[in-house]
Amino acid sequence: MGKDLSVRVCGVKLRNPVIPASGTFGFGLEAADWFDLNVLGGISLKGTTLEARPGNPTPRIAECAGGMLNAVGLQNPGVEALVAERVPALRACYGGAIIANISGFSVEEYAQACAVADRCADIDLIELNVSCPNVRHGGMAFGTDPKSAAAVTEAVKNATRKPVLVKLSPNVTDIVAIAQACADAGADGLVLINTLLGMRIDIKTRRPVLANTTGGYSGPGVFPVAVRMVWQVARACSIPVVGCGGVASAEDVIEMMMAGATAVQVGSENLRDPLACPRIVAELPEVMDRLGIDSLKDIIGIV
């Protein structure tokens, strides 16, 4: 059919727009035994901090209608281990874009961690996670206030020459204001949305299901929220937007791109279906054909 699936995000060419989202695909290598990772446009690695973190107590996972809650709490081996071990191991079997997702607890920490990631030639893009809802005094705290989001973005831009995508939280009153603050502070692109803050209660034990009490809601239930926010932000900002939230099919990818996304991340669906990303990539040409789309680049922000 000769369909063109390629897209370009902040100067980085992706063979297709499909990227497993941070936190739903480990450090990439976990899935290398299941399918050829090279079918993926990019891989966003698990959220990483300056120092190693054990994450939250369990239970970290709760189910709900239309998806799930997670409160993993940024369990990770630290950015030094990321650049020394995880990324080189992934690069050995994967030629596409590698996106390092960096989180922190202070502006300085974000900048330091990104400076370490900057030294790693195999990292193509940095995804600044200012939207993790599952850690105290960090993550989302920076992504829910335009000034803080701008301060982190600016500090990180000064710490790295790599393109910086800022991953935004939907748990805000005005997503456009935060997005614009990040763009004005030098962000090269935006990723939205991270999870919606949620909570479940076990009515038998009368206790929260999650040990962390609250967690991030993701899954098909958040898809319309994500589409709406991508649409709002893509219209208001001139930098590329990567859409994320509830994407589970090739049709969802196309819908997200029509809303304004240049590339699309697949998150929770990887947990339900370990082969979700290769399936979606394989389905794209046929769905494009059905809709009369020759190049995915043609539909970005068409709505």
């Binding site: 739903t24 480990g26 369990t58 970290r60 996972i61 993993v72 899954g219 370990p274 082969l275």
Partner: protein
Amino acid sequence: MKQGTFTILDNARLARDTFRMVLEGDCSAVTGSGQFVQVSVPGLYLRRPFSVSDRDGDRIVLVYKQVGKGTAAMAAMAPGGTLDLVTGLGRGFDVAAAGERSLLVGGSVGTAPLLLLARELQAAGKAFDVALGFGDAGLAFYVQEFKALGAQVKVATQDGSLGREGLVTDAIRALDGTYDYFYCCGSKVMMRVVSEALPFAGECSMEERMGCGTGICYGCSIPTTAGMRRVCADGPVFRKEEIVWERI
């Protein structure tokens, strides 16, 4: 790891609220006991993990207790229906670690994966006995199956309606034998008590609420001597000394 459609050959009550489902499909990814499968239950978002209780060629047996929506839906499924499974998950029991005579310790529905383990031990020419703990006689299962493999089997029930009155540790005390290795599957509390009570080496099949079951989401990590490790991919079976029990 392999995803595939399985046909339900049988799905019958095995004990109170406990069911035995026989599934047929591509079992090539199932390499041994202690591994688990992830079952997609129509209408529910996350897959449900179940240990492989028995296997015969392309047939696997899952034993599950009806505790929530997913298992209630499974209990209502009829033979001839199909289920989407991800198979061959996790690191299972280490049969090679067995010594002269092993002790298999099962608690409630945690008894399930020990049957396939027992078959593997038998095939490897390794001796073993079995201690099981259940709430009451109505919840007990697999006692005859273990006996049929030639093992000495002792049972304890909390109300004394079958075997000894007490906990699985009372069943262990009732066994007549000398053991040098144990395999355990049950509740976290039970596995901790067993691990601390037995003076020799052994391994436990841990349980934790899972997201993916394949090692990518880090939702099921537990504290081990090597840091936080994923029950689904680094386990579910861990050697007892690897687990930091006081933080479980």
